[in-house]
Amino acid sequence: MTKDWKKIARASGLPIPDEALERITPTLDALEADFRRLARDLPPEAEPAPVFCADRDGDA
């Protein structure tokens, strides 16, 4: 199911003009479809890649 990007923009209070939204909709739809397929197969225990270091002197 494709998302309604215009509604999302309005609900989020993003002042993106309609014509700009129309231009990016096909790209977002394609990315959304690809991404959703990947996310569906992700095991629940998978954690985000580490970036944050609790110890500021620690190695990344």
Binding site: I24, T27, F35, P43, A46, A49, V51, R56, D59
Partner: protein, 458 residues
């Protein structure tokens, strides 16, 4: 002449920094109007710095191979007292009160900064056709893009204006211009070079590295800029190595991975032929070609796009009320990023961890991978789509298709010229290694390109 050859000439007193710098400034004056590689030229400061370098060298206070060498940096590195635009109208009057970490290190090494190079707006694109500062043009054919976002750095080095130009790479922005401009472009491992003072685009994807005309030059620069910096939260404490390879290294016993999937699926035939020749070149120097399946690169590229859209939108959100100050391509990407939910960003970072693990297993089978850097040679300025084997593909997505995943994985990669197409345009070979294997990929690159990269006739 390469950077290291110029350094040797300085040490032998066969040349002075003042002479090298004057030659660089003359070449910039002659060539830059035609290719717009340099966005800002710091002639007076460079002459003074060169004079100081000559005094120090004459008194025996050599600071290393960059001492007295004219260089340039992409205009997203903070330079104290010198305008730093990031290729953006937003920052057209921004004059930092500090230097970026790499600027500090290069200047401590005695380099002579002659100017700052043009770039794609905010480093968010691959054409370097900047709506505010003009299009950077490829020295090999001025009707073509130099690649991006470090397009000015690629063009300045290819055009012989400077011996080295620093770039940044969030989704291929060092390697793409290296490929299109026929020079060496090194993207080190994430965390190897400090990002402090570089305008961020994607915090977890941004890398800093040099563009040069020889492999050994790239290693010499990495020797200076690599190392831990507590001001960069992702900076690694891993010990640095000597990254300058031998002149004629052997590849005996090395396993070169030939990807069985993705990387050779849709290429310009001349690019494919040149890259396949590189395997034969490596074999003739003792390496073994090992065909290997690689993890899902298309999926990794999708994850890269989600991460970058979200991170770039987060970085630039405070400025997005000034829509007229962005070019249309960058604004479209930022709008896309604002529409993604936070959960997608987190999910993308979770997928990234899975992909990193999948890729890690590959390094038990091969020592490095050879791939094309870009599926085509440099497109024409203004082209939005390119035909590859009869199929049309968006120029930006095509140019980033083979390089973007490496940023998600944080791996080191170098692009070197490996041939030329029928129009005489350079073809890039990408060598990808395991984390922190910069010395290894530079050794392999040196074996394949033991001389200075060919220069365009200008």
């Amino acid at each position: 002449m390469t950077l290291l050859e110029a350094a040797a000439a300085l040490r032998r007193r066969e040349a002075s920094s003042a002479e090298l710098t004057a030659a660089a400034l003359d070449r910039i004056a002659r060539l830059n109007p035609g290719c717009n590689a340099m966005q800002c030229v710091m002639a007076d400061a460079a002459r003074e710095r060169a004079r100081q370098a000559d005094v120090e060298l004459a008194s025996g206070h050599g600071r290393g191979p960059l001492h007295g060498i004219p260089i340039a940096v992409k205009d997203l590195f903070a330079t104290k007292g010198v305008r730093t635009t990031g290729g953006s109208k937003l920052f057209e009057n921004y004059v930092p009160d500090h230097d970026a970490a790499v600027i500090e290190l290069l200047q401590a090494g005695g380099a002579v900064l002659v100017g700052k190079t043009g770039m794609h707006e905010l480093a968010y694109g691959i054409t370097s056709s900047n709506p505010h500062f003009g299009a950077v043009r490829n020295p090999w054919d001025r009707d073509r893009i130099p690649g991006g976002s470090s397009g000015g750095s690629g063009a300045a080095v290819a055009g012989g204006m400077v011996f080295m130009a620093m770039g940044s790479d969030t989704g291929g922005s060092i390697r793409i211009p290296a490929s299109f401009c026929g020079v060496v472009g090194l993207k080190p491992t994430y965390g190897r070079v400090s990002r402090y003072g570089a305008l961020p685009l994607g915090f977890t994807l941004d890398h800093i590295g040099p563009l040069t005309r020889s492999v050994r030059d790239a290693g010499a620069v990495l020797n200076i800029i690599a190392g831990h910096d507590p001001r960069d939260p992702a900076s690694s404490r891993r010990a640095v190595e000597n990254y300058v390879p031998e002149l004629q290294p052997s590849l005996r016993g090395l396993r070169i991975g030939l990807p069985e999937n993705f990387y050779f699926d849709r290429l310009d035939p001349e690019v494919e032929a040149a890259v396949r020749d590189a395997f034969r070149g490596a074999e003739s120097r003792g390496a073994q070609t090992v065909p290997v399946p690689v993890p899902d690169i298309a999926a990794t590229n999708t994850v890269a796009r989600v991460i970058l859209l979200a991170e770039a939108a987060a970085v630039l959100e405070p400025h997005l009320d000034k829509r007229d100050q962005f070019g249309p391509d960058v604004l479209a990407l930022l709008d896309q990023g604002r529409l993604l939910p936070a959960t997608d960003y987190i999910t993308a970072q979770r997928l990234r961890g899975e992909m990193q693990r999948a890729f890690h297993a590959l390094w038990s089978r091969v020592d490095c991978l050879f791939t094309p850097t870009t599926p085509t040679t440099a497109p024409l300025i203004g082209e939005t789509s390119t035909a590859i084997r009869g199929e049309s593909e968006d120029v930006r997505l095509a140019a980033t298709r083979l390089v973007r995943a490496v940023n998600v994985l944080g791996l080191p990669a170098v692009s070197i010229p490996c041939g030329y197409d029928r129009r005489g345009l350079p073809i890039g070979l990408q060598i990808i290694g395991p984390p922190f294997a910069e010395a290894l990929i530079l050794r392999v690159a040196q074996a394949l390109l033991p001389v200075e990269a060919a220069a365009p006739r200008l």
